[in-house]
Amino acid sequence: MMTFQQIKNILNDKSPKSVEELAYRAAQTTRQYFGRAISLYGPLYLSNFCSSHCTYCGFNSHNKIQRMKLEPEEYRREMQFLHTQGIRNILMLTGESYKHTPVSYLKESALIASEYFQGIALEVCPMETSEYKELFAAGVDGITVYQETYDRARYAQVHLSGYKKDYDFRCATPLRAAQAGMRQVSLGILLGLSDVVNDVYALYQQLSELEKSFPGVEYGVSFPRLRTVKTASLATCDVDDVQFVKIIALTRLLFPRVAISLSTREAPKLRDHLLEIGITRISAGSNTSVGGYTLLEEKAQDPQFDIKDDRSVNQIVQLLKAKNFDPVFTDWRHIENSL
């Protein structure tokens, strides 16, 4: 592992030569470990009920938006739509509400999802190890949880109430998911919330510790940049494209086998270039509203964040092929999970 100072020096050196060199090495590493395969997944928002007040999020409990939770017949329709688009790996998301989306609800949605998808991951409120075990047994293979920032003071400023206010419980979530047997655990920070170098370094440390403690887990990382929805900008540390590229490249060099995903928040041009450098997993045909695929008219939707890349699954596939990438829909075959 690099020292904090080494990481700081690399990320703060914005000379075009250093950026290019770093990107070149990262691209070579990515090709060696992943070839030109890019995994595709589809996000499915099940509910936007949320008990947490996170000042940067469109779903936060204080925002006056239409609250919805999909019933089984509704999310089945959404799943069928994603399935017909070719999606085989699904990431199901909810707001942070145990009350509206308890483990029983998530288990049922996982069981129905297993009729359509080979890989099932959840991005929901942090849970106990025993609850993750139940979800694993119901067919969930992966857990995504973003710490958002490792800066405790800043964390407290932007997470004002609800489950998410508990920094330590959230920070230990990847560990609990790994303990429960999950195959994939994805971590992330919300770039722009706090000092970028501090956050990136802390994320690397956590990832290194997890790799040692639970080597059998396939880890993933993501670096969403702070975007706002119907609220004022909150970014304190804007991360420009140059620094963003360096973060992706450095992550690839330090963690050669870790999946790095990129969300639809990023503009197509940047997204396309980052595929060459280090991204190995992307969402496609994404809609970040509950019921956004088949149930709601676009104007009636309240997305969690605005999407900059609204290309369809088929468009993404054609683009990947045109750039000599192999779009991978199936990266896991669903088997019975047991510990």
């Binding site: 090709r31 030109r36 070719g86 195959r183 080597p215 887990v217 086998r257 779009p327 199936t330 075959r333």
Partner: protein, 262 residues
């Protein structure tokens, strides 16, 4: 010079080069490479087979005369490997299975212990089992007992292109194990494949190097030729390498100092 063909579980193969199918940039490169190298045994990860989508289904791009060797990539223990193998068979992928049990996503080293357990179960169920292992004599002996069809020791870290870092240990398996030894993982250049064959390995498997080459089909062909050349060299009774020049007898030459010259 005549050679006996490679026989695995009673099936004869004239090619001693196995190709893996991961990491190719498109399906055409993959099928071109399979044809170019003449491989008759090709590995496919079950996790990458999409049976519902014909264009994207990797099996659609593998010629029908090729023997399919499904691997259990993603299995973290014997139980999962067994489930994946059974699922592969039920999905119509046949009963040839390469056991990969990897519980380390950083180094991707195989878990020999769990591999033995999975081999025992699957061989008893009638699968043709080709287990992938870190080269270790005791493991290999246990695999023979468990009913493995071959032993597949790694040359170096998977995908590393580093060649035969485990050469001495693989040589022990070649010397001691009466099953075909197929060197797998880390073989990054035809010269490395030839080296393994010169040592007496029965076959070589490569994937990353071919898949990530600028011209995959050409490199696949080069690998096949190197494997053939290495095999010929082995059969020729290749003279061993000498560590030092051997022109005189510096230690014992004095014994003959007083003998009359002819």
């Amino acid at each position: 010079m005549t050679d006996t063909p490679l026989v695995i579980a009673g099936k004869t193969f004239t090619s001693r080069f196995l190709l893996g199918t991961g990491k190719f940039k498109n399906k055409k490169d993959l099928s071109d490479s399979i044809i170019a190298c003449g491989s008759q045994l090709v590995t496919v990860a079950l996790r990458r087979i999409d049976l519902e989508r014909h264009q994207e289904n990797i099996l659609e791009h593998i010629p029908s005369h090729i023997t399919l060797l499904t691997n259990t990539s993603g299995a973290r223990n014997a139980q999962e490997a067994v489930r994946i193998a059974r699922l592969a068979k039920a999905s119509g992928c046949g009963n040839w299975v390469k056991i990969e049990v990897i519980n380390d996503s950083k180094y991707l080293l195989p878990d020999n212990h769990e591999t033995i357990k999975a081999t025992e179960i699957l061989a008893a169920e009638g699968f043709v089992v080709l287990p992938y292992i870190s080269p270790d004599l005791y493991t290999a002996r246990a695999l023979v007992k468990a009913g493995a069809a071959t032993v597949m020791p790694l040359g170096s870290f998977i995908g590393s292109n580093q060649g035969l870092k485990t050469k001495e240990f693989i040589q022990v398996l070649i010397n001691e194990i009466d099953l075909p030894i197929i060197v797998d993982a880390g073989i990054g250049a035809p010269s490395q494949a030839a080296e393994a064959m010169e040592m007496g390995a029965d076959a070589v498997l490569a994937n990353t190097a071919v898949a990530t080459a600028q011209n995959s089909a050409v490199l696949a062909r080069a690998f096949a030729l190197a494997v053939e050349a290495g095999r010929m060299a082995y059969l020729s009774g290749l003279p061993p390498q000498q560590g030092i020049a051997n022109a005189s007898s510096p230690l014992t030459g004095f014994l003959y100092d007083d003998l009359p010259a002819n």
